[in-house]
């Protein structure tokens, strides 16, 4: 049995539109108006222990609904799901002991308390023995460099500091699985790198299975070999980022830095897609022309000072898939 398995998960939400005020609220209790939204429309996947999986998709695609089902918060309309052999929503208390979660936009720490007091409360919530708690906490404090933050009230922490504390909070009970929702949102570059480093280490050294939901594709490129792409409640891609690229487009890019403004740049096998002063972006199909042939032609005909060959940015690829699958 896979570590985490979901089969044909379906979840429909009723989005109600109700009149304002107490009267409207009372009427809304009895007969509901609104429309049905199918957040999950037959979602299936399997995750092996120790994997670090990226989960991407536009807003409202069904990402957070999936995570809520896996976390035991939501009960799906139909379909099956097991996490470490348990059905999350049937055995909530036993299930949530084995998982941790970080929602980048909402802290689980107690806003008015010093960080360490939140950790103490979580120790009692999870019923972790004092010695074990001290050991795990000491390790997290060291790796995440929390020492100076422990006595600071949560509300006074910067976003990056708070995220490090939230990561620690989610791991105090040594979960085998970690759900991350936008863990780098709003962080500056060094903080982002610190979070990524930590997650990589956690996955490699502790073998914690990670499901990473994010809009930041750099997170995915840095951390995840495998990516699930969801839109309109359906999984559109399950594989590597490279596969995802190949599926959408085989094209490659050449970026030229010229000595002049390159007004006359053109080539029968390449298309100019963007000009930024003396920098010119061209796209080409590697099945029609090899990169080396194209480059030698370009360098022969134009005053090229520098040149790179690259893949189209992943954002463009994702955007193209979203457009193709738009309802």
């Amino acid at each position: 049995m896979p570590f985490i398995e979901a089969e044909h998960l379906v979840k429909t939400f009723h989005v109600s539109e109700r009149e304002p005020g107490i009267g409207g609220a009372l009427r809304g209790l009895f007969h509901r108006r609104g429309r049905e939204v199918r957040a999950l429309d037959g979602v299936s996947f399997a995750i092996r222990e120790g994997e670090m999986l990226g989960y991407i998709g536009p807003n409202g695609a069904g990402k957070s609904t999936t995570v809520k089902v896996l976390g035991g918060i939501l009960v799906p309309d139909s379909g099956t799901c097991t996490v470490m052999g348990r059905v999350p929503w049937k055995d909530r208390v036993a299930h949530v002991r084995t998982i941790g979660a970080v929602f980048g936009q909402r802290t689980q720490l107690w806003w008015g308390l010093p960080v360490v007091e939140s950790f103490d409360l979580l120790r009692d919530i999870y019923g972790v023995a004092a010695a074990e708690h001290a050991r795990v906490l000491a390790e997290l404090v060291e790796v995440l460099e929390l020492g100076p933050l422990l006595s600071t009230p949560v509300r006074q922490l910067s976003l990056g500091q708070r995220m490090r504390c939230d990561l620690a909070a989610s791991l105090l009970h040594s979960p085998r699985i970690l759900f991350l929702d936008e863990p780098t949102i709003g962080l500056d570059a060094p903080a982002k790198l610190a979070v990524r480093d930590f997650l990589r280490k956690l996955n490699r050294e502790k073998g914690v299975t990670v499901l990473l939901t994010t809009h930041d594709l750099d997170d995915i490129e840095a951390l995840c070999e495998r990516v699930l792409l969801i839109n309109h409640g359906r999984i559109l891609h399950d594989g590597t980022l490279a596969d995802l690229r190949r599926r959408v487009t085989g094209e490659k890019r050449v970026v030229l830095d010229l000595a002049d403004d390159g007004r006359d740049v053109s080539d029968p096998d390449a298309t100019v897609i963007r000009r930024e002063g003396k920098r010119i972006h061209l796209s080409f199909d590697p099945t029609r022309v090899t990169a080396s042939a194209l480059i030698s032609r370009l360098t022969a005909n134009h005053p090229v000072r520098d040149l790179t060959v690259e893949n189209p940015p992943i954002e463009e690829i994702i955007a193209r898939i979203y457009k193709d699958t738009a309802a």
Binding site: A25, L74, R92, V96, R97, A101, Q108, L121, D124
Partner: protein, 270 residues
């Protein structure tokens, strides 16, 4: 083991909440005194009413003081102990933070109760106790062990009943953001109602606060037993002595309804 762990967690929640309020000692003290004075003014209004009219449906001021003291002590306990359910709607559901409670291996009701314990309502408790002590002195109640036990149990039962109303309010917030206004009429209306003998109210009103919400069991029935009066509507003495149980049952029933509300949330996600 599980109960021991829950108890330990509950005490931890209390300690955290108390420490939080003690960070702002002046604000806490002012809140406490304000509660005491606010209720004192209310009591003066009742007192002047009786100074003018002498009695209310055969109930004298000290007898009403007995009702008043018990009602306010019970309500004050529930406001402190069940405060978490009171603020649940706007502080947890509206913020979308209920998911956090579901992600933790503890009963959701325990975690909601642990959100906050508001100590300033002890001012109200103290004022109720003062009025109750005055009633006792005036009436010359001979506190046998049974009568004292009944009074204490009734206050506890009443606290359970009011806590149950806060639980219901929290349950409603799974469906509507207007839960506060809807339930406040019953909660705050209830404590106002309980400050007077139930015999003075209209029949349907009395029945609502006896059979639907067991407000009568909080102080009216126990007071009849303590004062040795018979109920004009013929409720037997046995029920009067048993009345604290009904408030506790009411809380148990509302906690079952809470579970139903949580199931609704987990199937609709809203």
């Amino acid at each position: 083991m599980k109960i021991k762990g829950s108890l330990r967690l509950l005490l931890h929640y209390v300690a955290v909440s108390v420490r939080g309020q003690m960070q702002y000692k002046t604000s806490f003290a002012i809140g406490l005194v304000a509660q005491f004075l606010l209720m004192g003014v209310e009591w003066i209004a009742i007192w002047s009413l009786f100074a003018r009219f002498g009695n209310l449906a055969g109930w004298t001021l000290p007898e009403v003081a007995l009702l008043y003291g018990m009602a306010n002590m019970a309500f004050a306990i529930s406001e402190t102990a069940a405060r978490g359910f009171d603020i649940f709607g706007y502080r947890v559901v509206k913020q979308g933070d209920f998911d956090w409670l579901l992600l933790r291996p503890r009963s959701t009701a325990l975690q909601v109760a642990g959100l906050e314990f508001r100590l300033r309502y002890l001012g109200r408790f103290a004022q109720g106790a003062v009025v109750l002590a005055w009633a006792t002195a005036k009436l010359g109640i001979g506190w046998t062990l049974a009568k004292a036990g009944l009074a204490a149990a009734a206050i506890l039962g009443g606290a359970c009943m009011f806590s149950g109303l806060f639980v219901l309010q929290a349950v409603l917030s799974f469906w509507t953001t207007e839960s506060l206004e809807i339930l406040n009429t019953v909660t705050y209306g209830g404590v106002e109602t309980a400050q007077y003998p139930l015999a003075i109210y209209r029949d349907w009103f009395r029945k609502f606060f006896t059979y639907v919400i067991p407000l009568a069991c909080l102080n009216y029935f126990p007071a009849l037993a303590i004062l040795g009066r018979t109920d004009p509507s013929g409720v037997p003495a046995v029920i009067q002595w048993m009345s604290p149980v009904f408030g506790m049952l009411f809380l148990l029933v509302t906690l079952r309804i809470w579970d139903f509300g949580v199931r609704h949330y987990r199937s609709t996600g809203s």
